[in-house]
Amino acid sequence: MSYHADEKGYYGEFGGAFIPEMLYPNCEELRQNYIQIMEEPSFKEEFQQLLKDYVGRPTPLYFAKRLSEKYNTKIYLKREDLCHTGAHKVNNTIGQILMAKKLGKNRIIAETGAGQHGVATATVCALMGIQCVVYMGEIDIARQAPNVARMKMLGAEVRAAKSGSKTLKDATNEAIRDWINNPVDTHYIIGSVVGPHPYPDMVARFQSVISEEIKRQLMENEGRENPDYVVACVGGGSNAAGAFYHYLDTPEVGIIAVEAAGKGIHSGESAATSALGKVGIIHGSKTLLMQTPDGQITEPYSISAGLDYPGVGPMHAHLYKSGRGEFISITDDEAMKAGLELCKLEGIIPAIESSHALAIFEDRKFKKDDVVVVNLSGRGDKDLQNYIDYFNL
């Protein structure tokens, strides 16, 4: 059994392309070409080159000595926080902008919640000199002002999504509507392993560089490619998909996905999709999502804007349902505490999203000689105001 997508884009019962006919030609064009393009030597070369010289890859695999001592196990941090723009998101946007160029597209659209993916998209569009429109919920625009400014400085147009709940899911709807209205010249750069096939698989492949490097780096450090566990936070699930990718079909490597419990799983203010979600359709994908009994998609909550999505990618729905992945949910308070702890013990200020992954060590115990790799998906600069408010700094 494989935990990768099959050729129709299904992970077990999850995935597929539940899209209106208006999107069929766009998605079909991508589906027919993405693997072939990704395998072209010229594509690979340019992608590798940019990851190295522009993004700053490989990112270090850092043995966190003091954190390991505290939790009595061997913790490595995969330093995606050191990527250009401050998070793993740029691995995907570099890949997709090159894909868009190969497909002859001259206009890019994207959705963003916290603004991380929007910034990563605006960045690569500036790099390539391509027009860029980013949809962002009206509410998120108000609460993520620095990233809105960054996108504007990078030359992107930020359009407010004013429909529905005016947050990430609505920004995604608006981006999809834009694509329906501009089917020929536009490529939609989705920011996570969500959406209709082939997006989840394509984005996972672009992010798979994370686990490719972990394998090599662990070999240097520990004399083996496989850790005992890989841990990552899951919003839509792209950093997790990248960190898990080359271990999916290696059962001896434990996979731990960490979701945002917000104010508590049953508080009514949570984004713990595996615990609260049911099978349904969101943004063209059959997956687990938070919804009312009537099938209306509900608004999630997390202190971290990047984990504030009412679904998870179909890969993760399958990892959960099949039992291959262990799913843990972490509250706002637990995450904030773990974030501050990393600052104090290792001198690294993590993104609040990543802090969720770090927070599992409080309750989830590992053996002393277990090798546990935590994907540190982003840095905390963007979250400074949140940290300031929370800790009264």
Partner: protein, 253 residues
């Protein structure tokens, strides 16, 4: 015979009207259906509101959000229209997104439709291949016609596959766009209408998206069997409530 097929066999242009159930007021559903029939409309699409209608423009989005806020949901809609066949004989189609149907239970949903006298479904995000593999037999068992969409970007090959899978009419989306009334049709649309007419499909086509008045209705039905009005009717309801539905329809034809 299915009421949709019967209507399509008549020698006339079809006027189909879409409205969102639960809008403007929660209990307007039955009156809207009855008044549309009285006004001489040929076919009605009852919209089941959804929180994330990604193929719809602002007008239908807003009516959906308002309908949900009013308290509309699948079971309530079925309850409201359970006796509708006592008062109307017009073909009725339910139009909505797939997730609410999935949560209701597709089989239970189809049973309910059959019992009430619904004639067909339009579920834009239920793709052709999934329909054929998983649901076709079920829809047919309950006498429901499933309507597929085509757009100006749909390839001839795929249009033929959709024609083969269809048995009522094909919903011909007028341009690459979400729903919403536009100012009119241009050369691009004429060429597209012409191309489809020349394909001699086995199913008649009904044009939707961007039809808002007599002029666009006539343009759309020059080649096609009929046309669908959605956003323009919703706007009319927003401005006038449910009291002058006949007046709206008479402006069209």
């Amino acid at each position: 015979m299915n009421r949709i097929k019967q209507k399509l066999s008549e020698d006339k242009k079809i006027l189909s009207i879409y409205f969102t159930a639960g809008y403007p007021k929660l209990d307007d559903t039955v009156q809207i259906i009855q008044d549309l029939e009285k006004s001489g409309v040929d076919l009605i699409e009852i919209g089941l509101p959804f929180s994330d209608p990604l193929a719809d423009g602002p007008t239908i989005q807003e009516s959906s959000t308002a309908a949900l806020k009013n308290g509309m949901h699948s079971e309530l809609l079925f309850e409201q229209i359970k006796d509708i066949r006592k008062s109307v004989s017009i073909p009725l189609i339910l139009m909505g997104y797939f997730n609410p149907v999935l949560q209701y239970g597709v089989e239970k949903f189809c049973q309910k439709c059959e019992k009430i006298g619904i004639d067909g479904l339009i579920l834009p995000d239920l793709p052709l291949d999934v329909y054929q593999e998983e649901y076709e037999a079920l829809f047919k068992k309950h006498g429901l016609i499933n309507v597929f969409l085509i757009t100006p970007q749909t390839s001839d090959e795929r249009i033929k596959a959709i024609d083969d899978a269809s048995e009522g009419f094909i919903y011909m989306v007028s341009s690459a766009s979400t729903t919403g009334a536009k100012s009119g049709f241009g050369q691009e649309q004429s060429a597209y209408f012409e191309r489809i007419a020349n394909m001699n499909l086995k199913n008649p086509q009904i044009v939707g998206f961007g039809i808002s008045n007599a002029e666009t209705f006539n343009q759309a039905t020059e080649k096609a069997k009929g046309a669908i009005i959605g956003s323009a009717f919703i706007k009319h309801l927003t401005e006038n409530g449910v009291d002058s539905i006949g007046g709206f329809v008479r402006q069209i034809r």
